[in-house]
Symmetry: C2
Subunit: 325 residues, 2 copies
């Protein structure tokens, strides 16, 4: 018997997580008896729903909103709500208000709830907590020195999560998600957008822009893998995690060339001609500051599973999005 | 021509720093023309003062206080104010209010000051940002996973300092001070207090409590070295520091046994009989989670200088405090 709260349920990963929760009917081995979905816009009720669901439109950084979200003491909380990196960089105050203060208000609301309330809180962090210079392979003990305000906010929330967990106020797990590829939907202007775009657009018969060289290596996971990480983070034994509650998720280190080759293999070489090379110095510089490859041994030891191959990632995208080739 | 603000000026390090500033008459190669001293109790005016000084009693975490402190645009700010580790652990809310929110209010006041205001902000951090398990030698790239609320608050402030510096709001340098030994004066609430107490109290003919085993190894620096770190942090070229504004200061790795042996050597073996062993499980647990030995290569490369030996540390204490043996 489990009440599950998803904050950020209207986002891409949030929607896919909710679909899985509804399909599975359980989380961490317990039947889901109630689902609360929150986002800045009211999340849609998932199809095929056979359990009580509450959708809440909220700015969770506003006074009293965190208390409202946990009013019915959810057992498992997935906290995915965030201002994304580009916006957090463009709007300093908004980024700190949502990504840091909002999260802290949630932690404080849980601390003050009383009655022995002690939920599992799964927090979506990011590899943006890391900053260059990097070693070839980034170990779990490598320091977090973010080079963006977004990464700073995520790194701070991880520290708070560990301290609140250590003090016994809640049971937190922060998972650092790789770049999610292939993101469904329309192209966006995020610096990392092309990693998805060069697969997604050609599969839809559209042109895609490639702003970097084909030897660029990046750390990726599919939306399916990301949802798997979240669900696993909800179920692992707290004692096995230890004091540091932030975990780098296992991903795949994939080059742009491997992406193009996979597209060619699955959809034919003519599709790759839709990828237009337009070198962009700004994007190349940003990408050069991103981490490429992680050890992720802690997370693997705790049973988190990466995608098996980039081909599997693209096949899953084609299947999940009903792409007709 | 430099206006210097010291927040936490009534504390032990603060007072010693102010003494040095007055004695030197300059900081970062510029003549000090004005000194503002702030603390929760009004700091004493230093002796031999030949320049305008303002003493302010303030809870700098109260609304408007940070703005008041920087009202006359100090060029160099030393931010030493903190609730110490034991108290921050005992009083969760007070620790976060002073150590995190107070610091953030200061950063925000600087950000909002306008007129191109861009001070050097020297922030006293701590090796408490590190948490076990540790390698034998802790590299500068080792992650910060604090095991106390105090360490969490310091680690968060370092992240904020780096982000505010990167965004161009100020010019921050966070220096992770080793445990300061020998602290003069009375015992404080820090769990690390005994490292000083077992030297200080016997030198004064008083009993000292030793709550841990004698093989405990710890990372130490003298008050003289700490003041030297602060002054050097005020003068080093910002560009040389890089994006990560937190620096582990060079210290000495000293065992409790070495401390006792040094006391015996300098003051006679009978003094060591004043050290009473009273194992304290809480303090032992806290100390076990503390780091022991660091590489500190970044700081050394930037010109920060450690004490030469523990004997030098004790001799400096005897000299500075006018102890008669």
């Amino acid at each position: 018997m489990s009440h599950v709260l998803v904050i950020g349920a209207a986002g891409m990963i949030g929607r896919k997580l909710v679909e899985r929760l509804v399909a599975d009917g359980q989380v961490a081995g317990k039947t889901i008896t109630r689902l609360t979905l929150a986002d800045v816009v009211e999340p849609e009720h998932p199809a095929g729903l056979a359990l009580p669901v509450t959708s809440i439109a909220t700015d969770f950084s506003a006074p009293g909103e965190a208390e409202r979200l946990i009013a019915h003491a959810p057992d498992v909380i997935f906290h995915l709500a965030a201002i994304v990196s580009g916006e957090a960089e463009a709007d300093f105050e908004k980024g700190y208000r949502i990504n840091l203060d909002g999260t802290r208000l949630l932690l404080e609301a849980i601390r003050f709830a009383g009655d022995g309330y002690h939920p599992r809180l799964v927090f979506a962090s990011s590899i943006a907590v890391f900053g260059a210079p990097f070693p070839e392979m980034i170990a779990d003990t490598f320091h977090r020195t973010p080079l963006t305000s977004y990464g700073t906010q995520k790194a701070i929330c991880e520290l708070l999560l560990s301290d609140y967990t250590r003090r016994g106020f809640l049971d937190g797990v922060g998972i650092r998600l790789p770049t999610i590829v292939v993101r469904p939907g329309k192209p966006n202007k995020a610096a990392s957008g092309f990693f998805s775009g060069i697969i997604r657009e050609p599969l839809n018969g559209q042109e895609a822009i490639l702003p970097v060289e084909t030897d660029v290596l990046h750390w990726m996971a599919s939306p399916r893998a990301a949802v798997g990480f979240l669900l696993h983070a909800a179920e692992i034994d707290s004692d096995r995690i230890g004091a540091d509650r932030g975990l780098t998720m296992p991903g795949l280190a994939v080059t742009v060339q491997e992406e193009i080759d996979t597209l060619s293999k699955l959809a034919g070489p003519e599709r790759t001609r839709l990828i237009k090379r337009e070198p962009d110095a700004t994007i190349r510089r940003i990408v050069a500051g991103w981490p490429r490859s992680f050890d992720a041994g802690r997370a693997k030891g705790l049973g988190f599973k990466a995608d098996k191959s980039f081909e599997e990632i693209v096949r899953a995208y084609i299947e999940d999005e009903g792409i007709r080739l």
